[in-house]
């Protein structure tokens, strides 16, 4: 496991569709593994995982682990939500820049808004019907040492 796993006692509000290609991503996530596709030709990782490399259009890809640390690029709290998310509103979402140079968007699990550029980690969310992921602030502001250690 390279991600902390948090159990959520309900089903996902809008489950992602799973393809023959992304099935591996979601299954790994369920087990606390964060990984994505990496190109065997140009070496670049891509997120979300894809059956081809968007950088060089090679179809020769492999799976590679993705580090869980990054920083908060931006965030908002959504009050006006679509019908399926209405019972969750207001909820906080964000854009994360992973240390590996990939940008993603996800839930932000934080009661108070962290300042932008704050350090974050990705966590796996295990719902009753399958996984999602989220970001959360690291518990203290200086993480240089703890980030080098594997999660307990």
């Amino acid at each position: 496991m390279n991600l902390p796993v948090i159990s959520i006692g309900r089903k996902r509000s809008f489950p992602p569709r799973v393809t023959a290609h992304t099935e591996r991503f979601w299954r790994s996530l369920e087990n606390g593994q964060f990984e994505t596709s990496q190109c065997n030709d140009c070496g670049k990782k891509t997120f979300p995982p894809k059956p081809f490399c968007p950088h060089c259009w090679s179809k020769d890809l492999t799976w590679a682990p993705l580090g869980r640390f990054g920083r908060l690029y931006s965030q908002t709290v959504i009050h006006a939500a679509p019908a399926v998310f209405r019972s969750e509103a207001p909820y906080r979402v964000c854009i994360v820049d992973l240390d590996e140079g990939l940008r993603l968007a996800t839930l932000l699990m934080a009661d108070q808004p962290p300042v932008l550029d704050a350090r974050l980690e990705i966590v796996a969310l295990r719902y009753l019907d399958g996984p999602l992921f989220a970001a959360r602030p690291l518990p203290h502001s200086s993480h240089l040492v703890s980030e080098l250690l594997p999660p307990s």
Binding site: R12, S13, F14, P15, P16, R17, T22, T46, F47, P48, P54, Y73, S74, Q75, T76, V77, I78, H79, A80, A81, P82, A83, V84, F85, R86, E88, A89, P90, Y91, V93, C94, I95, D97, G101, L102, R103, L104, A105, T106, L107, V115, L116, D117, L132, A134
Partner: protein, 397 residues
């Protein structure tokens, strides 16, 4: 050498709530409304129905029961066309692309006169149901939507980043909504015309933080018909007209966020498309008299004003607060009232921008007339301004 294209005339429905509920005993139907505008627009443009050789429609909302709307309208209008009859879709850029489709038929010499037209009726559908569709129009259905992102939540994150990077404030951004409402109060086509104060904007319920109700677009119905013509036809008409002097388009190859971290609030697409449009027109931002930009939220108007060269980077919000983008200011922006106050019938919104520019450049904008307006800019977008379409227009007397 492509033909130069002119806007000769237009007719537009005041933006508002027009759609009747499906159980209403009497319905207001899209084809009847739009046909009436076609007749008015051709009269405004001084063209004969037999001159029209092409119809470029924006796609109606899925709530419009009459499907294949464009070809149905050709029948309803009894209008044989020797050049394309098309129906275009491209989210918020839809009407911009339909406008391009009409222009291109003229540029290619396939017709001398074309109509760019469309109708967006949606307000009888509840917001919760509408959002079940609209949430799938931005981001990635499998890797973003499951977290609950909505179209305007991306703009809200632009706002948070802008405030953080440039030490701006919600107050500065909110001043754009006050300014746009003031402009809308002078526009008979606008949906919300009662002036508002900064305090009222700031005290509205939050929608996507830091943006409240008056800083995001309303839901709206609208319909527009524009008459476009080969410039030779426009010149021969002896009437004032508006000439397309430059255009630019750019898609940055991203949708909402770039998977390689970039400067999300620089609006690369608007910068690039704007540069192309200015270059083709042979003008600079300093030459422009007014801009009617596609900006669903206050923050986007600020970011576009910077990307199109009307404000230095990071200064757009302060410039708006100082009144430089207000009527009478250095560079009036969204004299129509913009998307927050003129309204946002999304698939026809860029048509309303062209109508405003035409009224301004033909010196018939009434109380909101920009004095001696000669050059104007419009923009339209996809995603979080991941793509932009920019036009430069010129008044010809």
């Amino acid at each position: 050498m492509p033909k130069a294209v002119a806007i000769l005339g237009a007719a537009a429905l005041p933006v508002g709530k027009w759609q009747t509920p499906s159980d209403s005993p009497t319905q207001l139907l899209e084809h009847e409304v739009l046909a009436s505008l076609v007749v008015d627009a051709t009269r405004d443009g001084g063209v004969e129905r037999t001159d029209i050789g092409s119809l470029a429609f924006s796609l109606p909302r899925p709530y419009t029961q009459q499907k294949y709307f464009g070809t149905f309208m050709a029948n309803y209008l009894r209008l044989p066309c020797g050049a394309c009859v098309s129906e275009t879709m491209g989210n918020g850029m839809t009407a911009g692309l339909a406008f391009e489709a009409a222009c291109n038929e003229i540029r290619l010499g396939r017709t001398k006169v074309a109509l760019a037209l469309g109708i967006n009726f949606e307000t009888a559908t509840s917001a919760a149901e509408h959002m079940m569709r609209s949430m799938r129009t931005t981001g990635d259905v499998d890797f973003h939507v499951p977290f609950g992102f909505t179209p305007i939540s991306w703009y809200a994150m632009d706002a948070a980043r802008y405030i953080h990077e440039f030490k701006s404030s919600r107050e500065e951004l909110a001043s754009v909504a006050v300014k746009n409402r003031r402009h809308a109060s002078l526009n008979p086509l606008a949906q919300f015309r009662k002036p508002i104060t900064l305090e009222e904007v700031l005290s509205q319920a939050p929608i996507v933080e830091p943006l409240g109700l008056y800083e995001v677009p309303p839901r709206s119905d609208g319909a527009v018909c524009l008459v476009l013509a080969d410039e030779d036809v426009a010149r021969a008409s002896g009437r004032p007209y508006v000439r397309i002097r430059g255009r630019g388009f750019y898609h940055e190859g991203a949708h909402q966020i770039n998977e390689i971290p970039n400067d999300m609030i620089a609006l690369l697409a608007a910068r690039t498309a704007g540069r192309s449009a200015y270059e083709e027109a042979g003008v600079t931002p300093e030459d422009i008299d007014l801009a009617e930009v596609y900006a669903p939220c206050t923050i986007i108007e600020v970011l576009v004003s910077e990307a199109l060269g009307f404000a230095p980077r990071g200064k757009g919000a302060a410039m708006a607060k100082a009144g430089e983008t207000t009527l009478g200011g250095r560079i009036p922006i969204c004299t129509s009232g913009g998307l927050q106050s003129r309204g946002h019938p999304a698939y026809v919104t860029p048509f309303y921008s062209f109508v405003e520019v035409m009224d301004q450049l033909r010196n018939r904008a009434g109380q909101r007339q920009v004095q001696n307006a000669r050059l104007a800019v419009t923009s339209a977008e996809l995603g979080n301004y991941n793509a932009a379409l920019v036009h430069v227009f010129e008044a010809v007397q």
